[in-house]
């Protein structure tokens, strides 16, 4: 193994965990956006006169 392999692995882990965390935030944001759109649609249907 090369001398820099430990350094690369440690920094790789740091960036990987950071990106996974940020990606999970984005994923939850997208899912919430869908919920908001659904609620908006429900509200509009309810507000529409019969």
């Amino acid at each position: 193994m090369g001398d820099t392999v430990y350094l690369a692995a440690a920094y790789g882990v740091f960036w990987l965990v950071s990106f996974i965390f940020i990606y999970s935030l984005v994923g939850r944001q997208r899912s919430l956006q869908k919920d908001v759109e659904l609620l908006e649609q429900l509200a509009q249907d309810e507000a529409r006169p019969e």
């Binding site: 430990y6 350094l7 440690a10 950071s18 965390f21 935030l25 908001v36 609620l39 509200a43 309810e46």
Partner: protein
Amino acid sequence: MASKAVLSQQEKSTASAASGLSWGAVLTVTSGILMLAALYMALIWAPDATNLTAPAERYAQRIFYFHVGSAWLGFLAFIVAAVASILYLVTRRDKWDIWALSSVEIGLAFFTTVIISGSIWAKPTWNVWWTWDPRLTISTICWLLYVGYLMLRGAIDNPDRQARFGAVYALLAGFSVPLNWMAIRWWRTIHPAVIAPGNNADESMGSFGMSANIQTTLLFCVIAFTVFYITLMYHRINLEQLQRRVDTLKQRLLYR
């Protein structure tokens, strides 16, 4: 009635998102630049530690900057969670529960990198991936305690009980942070205590001298990680607030 509530909440949410956009963007760009600068300083700008002769050990020493930065972020996040939990128990305001939960999630993510990067650094320095040293053992307990916090919250359905139990738990778990910080000062350990008056260079393995440029790089990394934490908190808190609003609206629509 419910439709009006939905629309007004939606309008409020959109308005708050629009006014918060600029702050979020500024924080995100600033922390991105700072983290890239910290990476440059840690890998290129900082000098080699003079007392480490083996090339693998010398390169691995550069793990130090992000290892300590992540540890600082984790400790800060857990302390913020403990303080927010006290504030929640005193005021019973939902805001503090959101702060505590967001902070623990962020802290746990970065404390995971501390443990993994520490293990990777240990191999070329101590010649083992892991040893049950006081600092490493307490770090593992600390990590498990906060995994337990998320599991506890996940196991309780009632939001009020979830917040109350979570606050008491986060407050108690917060004591693991000063214990973890002091572990390398109170007990004989091979983990270096580089930031300490009269450090434990005699007992520790892989200890190195802190030259001026090493200190500058470390300080810069700590600042970059602090800004990164604030940015993540900003986004995570906004997300949790939106999540709770959506949950409330769903409940209203379901039970009207």
